[in-house]
Structures are given as structure tokens and as C-alpha cells.
């Protein structure tokens, strides 16, 4: 946390004035419009923002330190709590990192299943962000309808793993169980009903005069500046750079699917909204393709007994399964020493895992690349010269997730 209270921040700001009377305004830490606990000390001249000093770290939980004391399969629940709007992407990103370290390829079917779950969570993530942009412009209606759809996605997750928000979904080596008939039922229902509701939501905002007036030009970002700041994900694509990890470094068989990477031009709130809207449609298309092309095979890697928890029936009846179960639960599995970086396209951008293993039961060092943490530092630059209401909109359209920001 920074010493915002003791330091006079004037030197950081421009000297531009409207009526010469400069005042300080605390936006946050617990303000409903910040969607999480972040503090921004704004220096304002009337309604115009001259600068801002950010304080973060309110929900820092020392995940990188905790990970150094946890066996590999016990780190998955930690990753839930990074970007909690799309936990499954984080979970699977971590599982893929460990699979890369071990050097195992999981069956095609399990990869397709992962794609379905990851795209569902991307939809959930983007729905939260976009409907909340609506709320911040004063349009609450779309939000309530989209949260019903998000609920439907969480019901689907519940069918797969039993949890809804912090999912701990999947295992190192695949899935804990195959998709059930009830899962397919719920997914089919969602795929049938969701587009109708989504297009209705889209029509509420996309060409809405008030919404466009509020969002176009709010919190703009140029492509050069965004790259300099290390932006990734929808926020980078809104500026016009088509960097998408799924396309550039395909993982989990993303190369098998046909989808477009939407880009914006201005990098403002409206572009970020549009990019996320289109990504939801692309995600739906990917889920449909994955369901149609779903290969036969196993839902987990059979050749990975030392990492993949055996079935409970086997644990109770077979000796090897019991031994492996015990070793996995106690974290006594041998793992190669090495240094590996793996990244996936999360809801907010490139979620990376930099893992150094010394062959011990826990990672020697694990560093998360948290996209929110990296792009949120551009926030003062984006809102300087804008109004306070634009600042609120800019924050919601960047989709800063406190859990990911503070790790």
C-alpha cells in the first residue's frame, strides 16, 4: 500500500485548472461504484479529474507464499480466488502448467471438455463486466437479466464439480468425472435460451443513444500505450491489437476451433464493451463446435496415476489405487525439477503461471501473471482529464477484479 495520506501528490499531476479550486476526493476504498476494494484519491477541479493516486492490496492473501508450502493439487483452490468471476480458467491454466512440467498430454476429449468449461466461464466473466457497465450508466435492467443467465452457467458448473463460484474444477490430468446427462441437458437449455436473452440485452445498450454518449470517448487508451503498459485481453483488443493467447499459442486444442478475435479502434469504454459482447458470441460458437466435434475417449489421462486421484471404488478395492490416493492427498508425488511458463487467455487477458520446481513436494517458486494487476496501473492515465462519472465507467469497463489485483 502506498502512503497516500502523508505524501502531497501535486507534483504528479498536471497544472491545468478550470476555476482554480482544486479539491481532493476519495473514490473508495469501499464505494459501491468501485466493485471491489480499491482506493483512488482523486484530485479534482470541479468535476474534472486532474490526477489520481491508487492504493491497492486490501485483500492481499500472499498466494505466492502459500503456494510454496502446498502440494501441487492443493494449489488449484488458490487459483480460484484470483479472478473469481472466471475461476475455471484459472484452475485449468494451473493444471495445464503442471501437465506441461510433467510433460504429459491429456486426451483430446478432456481438452475439448476443458474448452467448453473455459468458454462458459469467459461468458460469465464478460456478462458481469458488461452488465455492470450498464449499471454504471444507469441501466439496471440488463444487469438483472444477465445475472439470471450467469446463474444458469453456475448451475452448469455445479453439475460438473459441485461448486459454483470458487470451483476447483478439473484435476491435474483431466476431469474428476465425465459430463453427466444432466450437464448436457442444462448446457443444451442454456445454449438454446441464452442467445435470445443476450441479443435482447445487446439491443438495450449497443445503439442506445444515452449509453453511447456516456461510453464513447470515456477512458480511452492508444494501442502503443496499452502495449507499453502490458495490457492483454479484451482491454488490449479494444485498442486494436489482436493479441489473443488462444490464437497465438493455442493450448487445450484451441487450434481445432474456428473463431474470430474481435478488435476495437479507440480503446474507450464503448470499444471494450463491444469487444466483450462479440467475444461472448464467439465463445458460444466455440462451445457449439466443441460439443459437435467432441471426440471419443477418456476424460482424464490414464497414464498419470501419480497425479490423478483414482476413482473411489478403486481406492476401496485395489491396493495400487489406495497407495496412489494416499500419496496424492499427502502430496508425496515425485515431480521433475524445472522452470516452466504457461499462459491461458483469461477473462481479463493473459493469465500466466511462472513455476519453478526443484523436485520437491511443493513449488520452489510460483508467480502468477495477473492481468488486472498489470493494467490497473494505467487507470490514472486513462481518467486524467475526464469527469468522475467517466472514471467510474472506465473502472467497470476495465473489469478490475480485486482478487486478481491483490493476489
Amino acid at each position: 500500500m502506498s502512503d497516500t495520506y502523508t505524501k502531497k501528490p501535486e507534483s504528479l499531476f498536471s497544472n491545468e485548472t478550470i476555476d482554480g479550486e482544486i479539491s481532493t476526493l476519495n473514490l473508495g476504498p469501499t464505494h459501491p461504484a468501485t466493485h471491489g476494494i480499491f482506493q483512488n484519491v482523486l484530485t479534482v477541479d470541479g468535476e474534472k479529474i486532474l490526477g489520481s493516486v491508487q492504493t491497492i492490496g486490501y485483500i492481499h492473501r500472499a498466494f505466492e507464499k502459500l503456494a510454496e508450502r502446498r502440494p501441487y493439487n492443493q494449489i488449484t483452490p488458490i487459483t480460484d480466488r484470483l479472478n473469481y468471476c472466471s475461476s475455471p480458467i484459472n484452475n485449468m491454466g494451473w493444471e495445464m502448467t503442471v501437465e506441461k512440467l510433467i510433460g504429459v498430454e491429456i486426451p483430446k476429449r478432456a481438452q475439448y471438455m476443458r474448452v467448453i468449461i473455459m468458454e462458459l466461464s469467459r461468458i460469465a466473466d464478460h456478462l458481469v463486466c458488461n452488465s455492470v457497465i450498464g449499471v454504471d450508466t444507469g441501466a439496471l435492467t440488463g444487469f438483472t437479466y444477465m445475472f439470471q443467465q450467469r446463474e444458469a452457467i453456475y448451475d452448469i458448473f455445479e453439475e460438473v464439480c459441485g461448486a459454483r463460484l470458487t470451483t476447483n474444477i478439473g484435476r491435474i490430468g483431466g476431469f474428476e468425472r465425465d459430463f453427466s446427462p444432466r450437464f448436457h441437458e442444462k448446457l443444451e437449455k442454456f445454449l438454446k435460451e441464452f442467445p435470445k436473452h443476450f441479443e435482447e440485452f445487446d439491443s438495450l445498450l449497443l445503439r442506445n443513444r444515452i449509453f453511447m454518449d456516456r461510453t464513447i470517448g470515456a477512458g480511452p487508451m492508444s494501442a502503443e500505450r496499452a502495449l507499453d503498459y502490458g495490457f492483454t485481453g479484451p482491454n488490449l483488443r479494444a485498442t486494436g491489437v489482436d493479441y489473443d493467447v488462444r490464437v497465438m499459442n493455442p493450448y487445450s486444442s484451441y487450434q481445432d476451433f474456428d473463431f474470430i478475435v474481435p478488435v476495437g479502434t479507440q480503446g474507450d469504454t464503448y470499444d471494450r464493451f463491444c469487444v466483450r459482447q462479440e467475444e461472448v458470441r464467439q465463445s458460444l460458437s466455440i462451445i457449439r463446435q466443441a460439443l459437435d466435434k467432441m471426440p471419443e475417449g477418456s476424460y482424464f489421462a490414464e497414464n498419470l496415476p501419480e497425479f490423478y486421484l483414482p476413482r473411489k471404488e478403486d481406492v476401496y478395492t485395489k491396493m495400487e489405487a489406495l497407495i496412489y490416493h494416499f500419496k496424492i492427498v499427502m502430496g508425496e508425488t515425485p515431480i521433475p525439477a524445472g522452470e516452466v511458463y504457461h499462459s491461458v487467455e483469461g477473462g481479463n487477458g493473459e493469465v500466466g503461471y511462472q513455476l519453478i520446481s526443484d523436485g520437491g513436494r511443493t513449488p520452489y517458486r510460483l508467480q502468477f501473471r495477473r492481468p488486472s494487476f498489470i493494467y490497473y496501473q494505467a487507470y490514472p492515465e486513462m481518467i486524467t482529464g475526464q469527469t468522475i462519472s467517466d472514471a467510474v465507467l472506465t473502472m467497470s469497463s476495465m473489469n478490475v477484479i480485486a482478487g486478481e489485483l491483490d493476489a
Binding site: 500500500m1 491497492i56 507464499k65 503498459y229 493473459e350
Partner: protein, 168 residues
């Protein structure tokens, strides 16, 4: 899109910087180059403007603590990415923990600002030239650097505790 190879980039770095390139390896096909700590800033700046490689995106900056390697306890790692060529490069610079200073790269990548503050916060690395090197996630009054290896978390395998007293 041209495809850069690990060999090409390594050769280019060696040709340009000679003895500042200390060792190199390619774990999991990611070129990892150890560079002299006092040259890291210069190398990253040069890579950013080099047209042949176009390695001009900072993905991740962080540190690792190796308490047993004397004189090079802290490893600062820079994960760079060429979005044009889809090529990743990891640079590492080792510095002694007794004098943990390295040049800040905030003048090259503005996004390094918070990542360097985080590295300072957790490892105590002094980035010279950083505009505002203060703690970022931890509390200001903290007087140690928690991700260094001398600060242990409780060992999950310890057996000397009676769980009844800990509500388990």
C-alpha cells in the same frame, strides 16, 4: 509473421553484447538467458528497438530467492514477448542479497512500474531509477521482505501439534 528460433536470438544477443550474455538454456523450449545484472537494462532497451527480433512486450517481471548460492541470491527474471514474431524470451540477472540493486526498466516499459514495486515489496530488490519505489501490496510499516526463503510458513507435515486445540 516470421518465425524466430532460439538459436537466432541467442546468436544475435551474443553478437551484440558478448560477455554480458553469461549462460543460456531452453527449458520447455523457452529461451532463458542469464545476463550480467549491470547490462540488463541496456539489453532490454536494445531488444525493444531491434527490428530483427521485435521483442517489445513485457509479460512478467519477478524475482526468486536462492539462499544457498552465495553472491547471487536473488534472481530477477524478465519474461519478454515478441507479439509480431510470437517469440518468448526469459532474461535472468542474478544480484547479491547484501546489495540488491538493479536498474529499473520503468523508462523502457511503463508497465514495469507496479511489477518492480511488487518485487521490491516481497524481495527487497532496489530498482534504481524507479519513480516511486514503495510497498504496494503489503502494509507500509512492514520491516521485512516476506517472499525471501528465510520466512517459513508452517510445515504442513508437522506432527507435534494436537489438532484438538486448533479446531481441526
Amino acid at each position: 509473421m516470421t518465425n524466430l528460433t532460439n538459436e537466432f536470438v541467442l546468436a544475435r544477443l551474443q553478437e551484440q553484447f558478448g560477455s554480458a550474455i553469461i549462460t543460456s538454456e531452453t527449458p520447455y523450449d523457452l529461451l532463458t538467458v542469464e545476463v550480467a545484472a549491470d547490462k540488463a537494462h541496456e539489453i532490454i532497451a536494445w531488444l525493444k528497438q531491434d527490428d530483427a527480433t521485435k521483442i517489445s512486450f513485457l509479460t512478467l517481471l519477478g524475482a526468486t530467492h536462492y539462499p544457498n548460492s552465495e553472491g547471487r541470491e536473488l534472481a530477477i527474471s524478465y519474461l519478454l514477448h515478441s507479439l509480431v514474431n510470437n517469440f518468448r524470451l526469459r532474461l535472468k540477472a542474478f544480484i547479491p542479497i547484501a546489495e540488491p540493486t538493479i536498474a529499473s526498466i520503468t523508462d523502457i516499459y511503463v508497465g514495469a512500474n507496479w511489477q518492480e514495486r511488487e518485487t521490491y515489496d516481497f524481495f527487497g530488490v532496489q530498482f534504481t531509477g524507479h519513480p516511486n519505489l514503495t510497498r504496494i501490496l503489503n502494509e507500509d510499516s512492514m520491516d521485512y521482505f516476506p517472499l525471501r526463503k528465510e520466512y517459513h510458513l508452517e510445515d504442513a507435515t508437522r506432527e507435534d501439534k494436537d489438532d484438538r486445540y486448533f479446531g481441526r
